[in-house]
Amino acid sequence: MSDLDDFKATYFDECSELLAELEEQFAEIEHGDRSNGRLNAVFRAIHSIKGGAGAFGFSGLVGFAHAYETLLDKVREGGVKLTPEAVALCIRANDIVADFVHAARVATDLPEDYGADEKGRFTRLAAGEAPEDEAPIEDFDIDFVPVMARIARAEAEEPRGASLDAFEAPPLPPESGQWEIRFRPHGELYARANDPLLLFRELASLGELTVRAVLDATPALADFEPFGVYCAWELTLVSPTVTETQIREVFEFVEGNCELSVVEVQPLAMSPGLPPLLIDEPDELPSFSDLMPEAPAAGLMPPAEPAAPLPSFAALAEAVQAEASVRPAGVPPRPEPTARKTVATAEPAGEPEVERRNGVQSIRVDLDKVDRVVNMVGELVITQSMLTQQMDETLRVRYQELVRGLEVLAQTTRGLQDSVMAIRAQPVKSVFSRMPRLARELAQVTHKKIRLEMIGENTEIDKTVIEQLSDPLTHMIRNSADHGIETPEQRLAAGKSETGVIRLSAEQAGGNILIVVEDDGAGINRDKVLQVARQRGVVEADEQLSDEQIDQLIFAPGFSTVDAVTDISGRGVGMDVVLSNIKKIGGSVHVRSWAGRGTRMTLRLPLTLAVLDVMLVRVSHNPYVIPLSSIVETMQCARASFERVPSGGKVLQVRGEYVQVIDLCERFELGTPADDKTRFVVLCEAEGSVKVALIVDDIIGQQQVVIKSLEENFESIEGIAGGTILGDGNVALIVDVQGLKSAKPRRHAA
């Protein structure tokens, strides 16, 4: 069933988004924002995950999510306080939900009792649940019953009476025992895979329930929409003990997606068998008059399954919700009953912020498709620049219309390129949102007090760049927490506040994105770094380094100054990963440190990976490009000071440093090099800040190129990172500086 697979894939995609949303919400909640909007967003996310899981029969996930939801519910009602411990538990629970989702996605089984501990803690936290919760659980007709029943029993063992009062603080006056419920679902209720039947079953478990369908909103057949929602219900619930809260609880999940009124019928009408419609008749009369003749008969219809759309998820719901403001006239809002004692009405007013965000219209597109467009736009840019180059003065004078057309083409192409890049761009929030909890965990493990501040989370970067960003950021924050921030005692002694601050910020600067991780810790201990570097032979004993060079040493592979390896860092892997990851995506890392005041690490990243900034050079008669990100400087050979080494090779002396020289002409076997005087040195930086000097015949200029793979139709070549197509349609090869550096010269092999 490919359809089902599609739905599943959509569901899993959404789960990832919802889980990210959970992280985000909890980051705020942790900061003390306990507003209902946040809680509701959390609740909704968990509920959506649970709903889909139920539809696909992921019983473990449903069971866990339900327990989680129950706790959240209590919190929302104020029955349970959201203590830091509770928040920590919830955050742990998010992980478990994520694990369940992952297990379901890859179709593996988690241990039977996975998350049971947390589930137990939920139950204990939410202890003293109202007994009515048992009924709906057992009534759920999805096959997760065994799991749920276990909780239910656990609950049953809890002492009940006292806590029952705790969250139904103002006891309602004696009940008449007869409740009139009007329930008019909106389209999005079905879109969120809710089923009125389940709600009614839950109600039925509270007392004697009579259900009547109301079809007064049904339009004439001509205006009938196949997926329109025209059916509402009036329900009479007779139970001497039930409270309004209990009734509303049943509708908790669909709140905001329906019109709901719960009215207690006054004792004078108390007569269990009496059809409730009688009481309503005076109010209903005016509206009956403009009804279609068949409407009264419809009142006898059973609460059959309404025309619920396919099992659809939040994406669809969003679309529906976006439409909600321009609802088709087929579903007019129901006039409020006036003559009644309306206790409360749940209108889909909701939380404005959350609602607005749900209203964002989006479509889901395979990244491959976008990449194809990006590639084609790249081609278009090249073709366009090629056309422009063809225009000489005579053509310009003769074909003015053509010139104008080309100018427009150039503009449009540029606009198109920007727009396509914008499609791939994503806010860095998706990576940043994982960091608060990392900081929190680090603080716990290191027994330090750490506050993480984040700025510019909405800065957008290309998706592929973002994907590469997670590991480096994790390592950098670890490093800051472990090495940068001092213990509270040390901080106090140094006259700083007890809590260390790590600031994570992102901003766009020209064609780059700057990501900065700053801390107000002790700064890099340069003496120690240098000492360790000398011990490990990273730096020669007599070599003198500038402060900046010493700071940069922390990126050397296997480098660590910590005496004791901790769980977090100190193993010497980490910062070199940062450097290599960032280099891989064409970025650079810069670190600056102030003793006693802190450290700032700056990542400079390209806006996109699809386009590379390069320097175009000529080697023999062939064009080559060198990524700008790896170039340190260029100079004329005539002004460079070369030295001979015994092997016959050359080294270049740059400001006291001796650098390996690679003559591209020789290395690429492209004939005998021309006179040295007219050639150029391009000083590049390979991995680990190792410099290498490339000698080229000419420097043509800088430009942006689209990277093309050589492996697609051929195979990888030593020293070449790929190809690109120049404005004249020729192929230029991209020099792989790192590859050239590590490969042995093969000059003598031939």
Partner: protein
């Protein structure tokens, strides 16, 4: 009805033909004629230079831009060990698909499209290892020998040995 019958007939014939015979694109390198199955050929274009690839064997002439994709060019003459071709504008690049990849073959000229029967394919006589390695078989057409090129063998071993 008759029309339908006719069409069915022709389909059958084509199917039979497809089983027993194959169409070749024949091209020449010096005096020799070689062929590849026509279904592998993507396009034929005039030689217009290529960007040389470093650290590759001499029969890899470089790469060209084929509508935004980088395609390597193999010099068939050099591949057969006869030294590099000195290409002119009259030389031809036959672009073919080999498995998932597209490659170009630099040849002197494309001569013909041949239809040969699969039954007429002869084994390559043992002897010169280059022949047995690079040819799938030999067919005779107009009393001339046409070597069937094994494309997978031709494109392998392109990287220079260290």
């Amino acid at each position: 009805m008759e029309a339908f019958g006719l069409r069915d007939d022709s389909v059958d014939q084509a199917a039979v033909a497809a089983q027993n015979s194959m169409q070749l694109i024949a091209f020449s390198i010096g005096e020799q004629t070689y062929g590849v199955e026509i279904t592998t050929v993507r396009e034929i274009r005039a030689w217009n230079g290529a960007t040389p690839l470093p650290n590759t064997r001499e029969f890899v002439r470089g790469v060209i831009n084929l509508r935004g994709t980088i395609v390597p060019i193999f010099d068939l003459r050099a591949r057969f060990g006869d030294g590099q071709t000195s290409p002119t504008k009259n030389h031809v690049v036959v672009v073919m698909s080999v498995g998932e990849k597209w490659v170009g073959m630099l040849v002197d000229a494309v001569s013909d499209i041949l239809t040969v029967s699969r039954d007429d394919i002869h084994q390559v006589p043992e002897g010169n290892s280059i022949d047995t390695e690079l040819l799938n078989g030999i067919v005779t057409h107009d009393n001339k020998m046409v070597g069937l090129i094994d494309l997978h063998a031709v494109v392998s071993g392109a990287r220079a040995e260290a």
